[in-house]
């Protein structure tokens, strides 16, 4: 099959950009597609054009550098487009994407999927109130628009992101009422050896924390927000101390605030991998369900390579080198002779990955986490399905994510389960008393994002429709 391009890269974050840049060095035609207008992904998200002169941050500097590299390279960057389906044939892939209301297809010999991560939030009472924002969602707003969120924020979650969100909220002129984190100082001390591999980042983190102490912002280690309260928007949160397995215990305490940033860690955005035919496996150290993979981004689907956080949460530093390695795997697949040092890149990758993995470990869910979701808490927010409804369905005999989805519509709304599937899977595993690795996510279905009938149907004359002969009488 003659294809439109040699290599297509889905996702323009650190992994996708580096894969595309390296592949282009070997004189293959490379097309990189991304939902955002400018390359950078979530971590290097570009500033809105209205505020380009705003002060630099480490993320904006790294983002500008990769954006320049892409614009000076032979990589064809398609920004502001949405991939909605991936089809496989014997020797090619066809990617279908939406651009300004029109569906376009792009065929390629080789596919690199770098769709990154999304955040997961354990549902708690009140988490659907206006004023609640995900931690990763908050960083997107900070990076793109440089504005604080609300006037007084409580940040509650796991891993390093709690401190980044709090520090940025403050830097941008907002107030932070408190940081509540399930992690303890001991958790962080355990992560120290890996963090010493990246002294620059360690120092940056310490600076955020110091700033909190200087500004007398309370940090509640080993605590979690258990409830968000308010009539029509957030007015305060309830929080509790948690046990070693993250079960909330003790007396509730309260903090007044008008917004809450919640986060329970990052997970792979794995639907594209599923559509491409890559099997999933469970690895709680790397964010739960991730695509099965071999060295340097190779997969069980010939010609399809994966890199970055989508392949397992290891952070942006690891994603950069992982992208390079996957780019090299792709060009090698197409027959190029590699003149980069793979050994050196692998070493770099291992080093960066061990830092990222140590950060991911701080967010590995513990058994008590599901206790935050009360019977009446909405779990599937698109369809308004509560924990009790999901458990009732299981008591009636539903034993899998597919049965729960069919029976109560949990995960059948516009997000397609992207928001709730982690919590639902945990609930099923808990009810069945089996490891979550035995509860596979449902089959992925196109479109990857909601796409209108007009876009999918395209322009046509009725007489052009391929109407076959009617079914037998």
């Amino acid at each position: 099959m003659i294809t439109d391009t040699d290599i297509a890269v889905i996702g323009a974050g650190p992994a996708g950009c580096n894969a595309a840049l390296l592949a282009a060095e070997y004189d293959f035609s490379v097309v990189m597609l991304d939902e955002q207008v400018s390359p950078g992904g979530q971590v290097w998200r570009a500033k809105s054009p209205a505020i380009l002169s705003a002060p630099e941050t480490p993320e904006s500097v790294a983002g500008e550098s990769v954006r320049n590299a892409i614009s000076q390279s032979n990589v064809t960057h398609l920004g502001g487009v949405r991939v909605w389906h991936i089809e496989r044939s014997e020797d090619a892939f066809v990617i279908h994407y939406e651009n300004a209301g029109v569906s376009i297809s792009l065929s390629c010999r080789c596919l690199v999927i770098a769709t990154g991560a999304r955040e997961t939030i354990q549902p708690i009472p009140g988490w659907t109130l206006p004023g609640v924002v995900g931690m990763a969602g908050a960083t997107s707003i900070f990076k793109q628009d440089l504005i604080p969120i609300g006037s007084k924020m409580v940040v509650s979650g796991t891993g390093p992101l709690v401190f980044f969100v709090a520090a940025e909220q403050q830097r941008l002129g907002g107030e932070v009422a408190a940081i509540v984190t399930s992690n303890t100082l001991l958790d962080w001390i355990k992560a120290l050896p890996a963090m010493l591999l990246r002294p620059g980042l360690l120092f940056r983190g310490l600076r955020w924390i110091t700033a909190m102490y200087v500004n007398r912002i309370p940090i509640y280690w080993g605590h979690t927000v258990t409830r968000v309260e308010g009539e029509s928007s957030v007015s305060r949160v309830e929080f509790k101390k948690i046990s070693k397995d993250w079960t909330p215990q003790g007396q509730p305490r309260f903090i007044e605030c008008d917004c809450v940033s919640l986060g329970s860690g990052l997970i792979s955005a794995f639907e594209s991998f599923q559509l491409a035919g890559i099997s999933l496996e469970h690895n709680s150290d790397l964010g739960g369900w991730i695509p099965k993979q071999e060295q340097d981004g190779r997969t069980n689907v010939g010609g399809c390579f994966i890199c970055g956080d989508g392949a397992g949460i290891r952070g942006s530093l690891a994603a950069e080198t992982h992208g390079k390695l996957a780019g090299l795997s792709a060009v090698a697949f197409l027959g190029a002779k590699i003149n980069h040092s793979i050994v050196k890149l692998r070493r770099e990758y291992t080093r960066a990955a061990s830092f990222g993995e140590a950060m991911s470990k701080l967010s590995i869910p513990r058994p008590g986490l599901t206790k935050l979701t009360t019977a009446k808490t909405v779990v599937c927010r698109c369809e308004g399905i509560t924990r009790a409804e999901i458990e009732d369905e299981m008591n009636l005999g539903a034993q899998s994510t597919i049965s729960v989805k069919s029976g109560v519509r949990a995960g059948m709304g516009p997000c397609g389960g992207k928001f709730c599937q982690t919590a639902i899977t945990d609930l099923i595993a808990k009810t069945k008393s089996c490891p979550v690795s035995q509860i596979a996510p449902p089959t992925a279905r196109p479109p990857l994002r909601p796409i209108s009938v007009n876009t999918l149907a395209g322009d046509f004359d009725y007489s052009d429709l391929p109407i076959s002969k009617p079914s037998p009488l």
């Binding site: 049965s403 519509r409 196109p446 209108s452 009938v453 007009n454 999918l456 079914s471």
Partner: protein, 352 residues
């Protein structure tokens, strides 16, 4: 169909166990568009389809049953001719189908396209929610004390002392009689018994939109059968019509083919222009098994007295609960209300 047979056997005092490689009701019966329309049933199968409708109606809310009435549309003179010819035969076979004027259609369904040349109507038509099939039958089996095992991956069948021993990776089940009712997976199962049945699978595509304001109240079809469309009580619009995806049952779930999807949605938009800006949330495929003459396999497996096969029922979602009951009766050695379809008959060579 397997569940309906097992329930009927339980009613007749025969103990049975239902084995499924996945979850109950998650094959074709759980992923089809849920259309219950006599206008798309085969003439010879009409008595079965009419009784099938009665079964679904009796299941009621538990399966999301709604009798909305259904219109079948023709947009060209040729299609109008086709519609008249086909619907007249179906009406003769007992379906209460009538032809309606454009003004009557417009009054009932004001959002449909202006270009309709002819339309037929059947008051018996409606839909059920196929997602609820598994939930419904699981509850019924439990209620009747019929055992079932989900996630049972059948590896082999051997002759036992008094019947058969069915083997999976970690367990065996023995039974005096076997019924294979595995839809598109029938072929590989009966092959285990040394019988090659000419079963093929169509890969039908279905799509669903986000919730919309009410645009249509009836089940909408097309003279060729290439469109089924209905808006559910929650506002989502479900679009099917048998456009073909890719894949085989042996490879797992099928895949959506974008060309098929495009044509399917173009036809839906042509019929209901008001849906043009609705966003599609999900498209999927389901396997519909058939044999070359497009009539059911329902009877004894050729060469066996105590092995039965049930499947390849054209319009299987509609007819399934009824023909499953007939199968139960047959295994119980009762006289069946309507005749079954011998799987040992000869099939035409040419496969359509």
């Amino acid at each position: 169909m397997g569940c309906a047979s097992a329930l009927q056997m339980a009613e007749g005092g025969m103990k049975s166990i239902v084995l499924d490689q996945g979850d109950l009701g998650q094959g074709a019966s759980g992923v089809n568009a849920g259309t219950l329309s006599l206008q798309i049933k085969r003439v010879k199968l009409m008595p079965y389809a009419i009784r099938g409708h009665q079964e679904w109606e009796s299941m009621g809310d538990a399966v999301g049953f709604r009798k909305t009435g259904g219109y079948t549309l023709a947009f060209t003179d040729h299609e109008a001719e086709l519609l008249h010819e086909r619907m007249s035969l179906k009406a003769e076979a007992g379906a209460p189908i009538e032809f309606v004027s454009n003004s009557a259609l417009r009054e009932a369904e004001p959002n449909l396209a202006d270009q309709v040349v002819a339309a037929s109507y059947c008051a018996e038509d409606g839909y059920a929610n196929s997602s609820l099939t598994g939930q419904f039958y699981r509850a019924r089996l439990k209620q009747q004390g019929v055992q079932y095992r989900e996630g049972f991956k059948l590896l082999g069948v051997e002759a036992g002392n008094d019947g058969y021993v069915i083997r999976s990776a970690n367990t065996t089940v023995s039974a005096r009689k076997l019924l294979f009712s595995a839809g598109a997976w029938l072929k590989s199962l009966t092959a285990l018994m040394g019988v090659e049945l000419p079963v093929q699978a169509r890969v039908n595509t279905v799509s669903v939109t986000e919730r919309l304001p009410m645009l249509t109240r009836s089940v909408i079809g097309h003279a060729t059968g290439l469109l089924t469309m209905k808006q559910k009580a929650n506002g989502t619009l479900l679009i099917g019509g048998g456009w073909q995806g890719r894949g085989t049952p042996e490879q797992g779930r099928g895949q959506v083919d974008t060309d098929s999807l495009r044509s399917n949605l173009a036809l839906a938009r042509h019929a209901l222009p008001a849906a043009e800006n609705a966003r599609i949330l999900r498209s999927w495929t389901g396997f519909e098994a058939h044999v070359p003459d497009f009539y059911p396999l329902a009877g004894k497996l050729p060469g066996y007295e105590d092995v039965f096969v049930l499947g390849c029922v054209r319009g299987g979602y509609t007819i399934g609960p009824y023909i499953g009951k007939l199968m139960g009766d047959y295994i119980l050695e009762r006289t069946t209300e309507l005749p079954l379809f011998n799987p040992g008959r000869s099939f035409p060579e040419v496969v359509v």
